[in-house]
């Protein structure tokens, strides 16, 4: 094979090395998390920025978010196989953002059931054409329709999944980070896998409802958990304390936008002025803050 043919083959065929694994941490008994870096999706990280992982029961394993592309999904699968010989029975997708779902393909198997919020399928189908273009242009991933794996189990309110002597409680949330967020609670270790309902260090990204997100946080704040796993950022061991920065940011965003709307100001004004006092507290503030203002403004201008 000529060199350039080899190169083009390599470029268009993602090479997955059987031995590739990713770094995971056992944060509680049989609960493993790969902690992503706080970066924008780009050509270096190929969008691999989210916290993803798995939980092992007596019978089988469930994956929680599969990664940003099939290569990362495969690496996660390889990692699971180096840790346990138990089969994978579920892949749970917490929501449709590309850093959480496009590793799904690596887990496709007759024995694996995909699980998500009842609005997840719609979100995946409507967002995928756009993500595929972006992904190719900006993150160096070649995704195709084969990477679209929809949930066969849909959660409307709550659902219990038994991994063998380990029951996970899944909750479909009202519109918050997105309009299809799903969280997973493991009573055995008192761990709540919140995924992108909680951001730490990385600026929270609003793609659902600011009012909904604040009220979900206020509701969850009443509970206590030994561990909470955010979608981006470090493990939480002091829940009531660790959720405060995100809550404070969202409350400030809402307060300042409501004030501008009352004053008859427009989205363009809000983008320039709202909640910049939070700038130094967050990573990727400049990348996502204006987007958050836009989404929140478009929601709040409909309040009576």
């Amino acid at each position: 094979m000529k060199f350039f043919q080899l190169v083009s083959l390599l470029i268009f065929t993602p090479i997955i090395f059987a031995s590739d694994t990713i770094k995971v941490k056992e944060i509680a008994a049989d609960v493993y998390v790969h902690f992503g870096k706080h970066e924008l999706p780009n050509n270096h990280n190929h969008g691999e920025i989210a916290n993803i992982g798995f939980i092992i029961g007596d019978k089988c394993v469930t994956v929680i978010d599969s990664g940003a592309n099939p290569t990362q999904g495969k690496a996660l699968k390889n990692t699971i196989q180096t840790i346990t010989s138990k089969p994978i029975c579920y892949v749970i997708n917490t929501h449709a953002h590309p850093d959480h779902i496009y590793g799904n393909r690596a887990f496709k198997d007759a024995k694996v059931k995909f699980v998500g919020h009842h609005k997840l399928s719609r979100a995946i189908l409507t967002r995928s054409p756009y993500y595929f273009t972006k992904s190719k242009e900006q993150f160096g991933n070649q995704l195709t329709s084969a990477d679209v794996v929809l949930p066969s189990i849909e959660v409307k309110n709550t659902l219990q999944l038994d991994l063998g002597n380990r029951i996970l409680e899944l909750t479909a949330h009202p519109s918050a980070h997105t309009d299809h967020d799903l969280s997973i609670y493991d009573s055995k270790t008192d761990t709540l896998w919140l995924s992108d309902l909680l951001f730490r260090e990385h600026l929270p990204v609003l793609d659902g409802s600011i009012n909904g997100w604040i009220s979900e946080l206020e509701r969850l704040e009443q509970n206590s958990y030994t561990y909470v796993i955010p979608g981006h950022g470090a493990l939480v061991t002091d829940w009531k304390h660790s959720l405060q920065p995100q809550k404070k940011y969202l409350l400030l965003l809402r307060k300042e936008i409501r004030l501008l709307i009352q004053q008859g100001k427009f989205l363009e004004d809000a983008i320039k002025t709202v909640a910049y006092s939070e700038q130094k507290r967050w990573k990727l503030f400049n990348e996502f803050h204006k987007k958050n203002i836009s989404t929140a403004f478009a929601e709040l201008e409909w309040e009576e």
Binding site: T133, V148, S209, L267, E287, E299
Partner: protein, 277 residues
Amino acid sequence: MLFKTYLTSAIMALALIGNAHATNDENIWQQELHQQYFAGKNIEESNEIIKLEAPYRAEDPALVPIQIKSQIPQTANKYIKKITLFVDNNPYPFVGEFELTPASGKADLAMRIRVNTYSYVRAIAEMNDGKLYMSKTFVKASGGCSAPIGADLDTAMQRLGKMKFKLQPDTKMSEPHLTQLLISHPNITGMQMDQVTRFIKKSHFIDTIKVTFNDKAILTAKTDIAISADPNFRFYFIPNTTGTLKAEFTDTACESPTSRKVCTTGKSYMQTYTIKP
């Protein structure tokens, strides 16, 4: 893992080349849009009649605020009759056309649009004498996690048809007055993967909008899927008397997101607002 590093940089290089030639050109405009919408007509590129403003980097591709600032007053003798907007590289580039009158007072417009990728956004003004002027600006839609759809489809769906006028409080009679019209509508693009049939794949969007003051036209628009969900328009009119500001819109559903050949007419909606001195 040397081999993988090499592979990564090869992919990167390719992606960079892809980016560089992706969209920063005039091809779609010159070869398709100009002919399709302004066949045989000369368009002068100039910011002297209207000036289009949009953020260079669009943080949210679903909500890109754009403004058209007119550089001349609307008088009975000389006025901007129509402004047509395009996003070259959107799946359906036509954003809308907005007919204005001397009663508009000032031909400024502002709205929020969807920009799918790196693209020129262009506004073409047609004068009452038929001359055409174009202002354009380049927008980079950023690659974050948001998609050009709308954050909360069901909420917009439940509220569909609701409208609100918002007027700046200091109404001075007989001067052009900045007016905001909010319409709740999900403005569904219809762009989606074709894996299952249980979802509506049709586009469903606002196709006509008409704003009048005491039955005199202020703004008459044809719009399409590039208008953001829950559309928000700003424009001017002259409140020279007491009377009624009225907005009406209709929506449509088309079989294909990128063709307007097979569409079904939807419903019409209306909202009024009383102007008092």
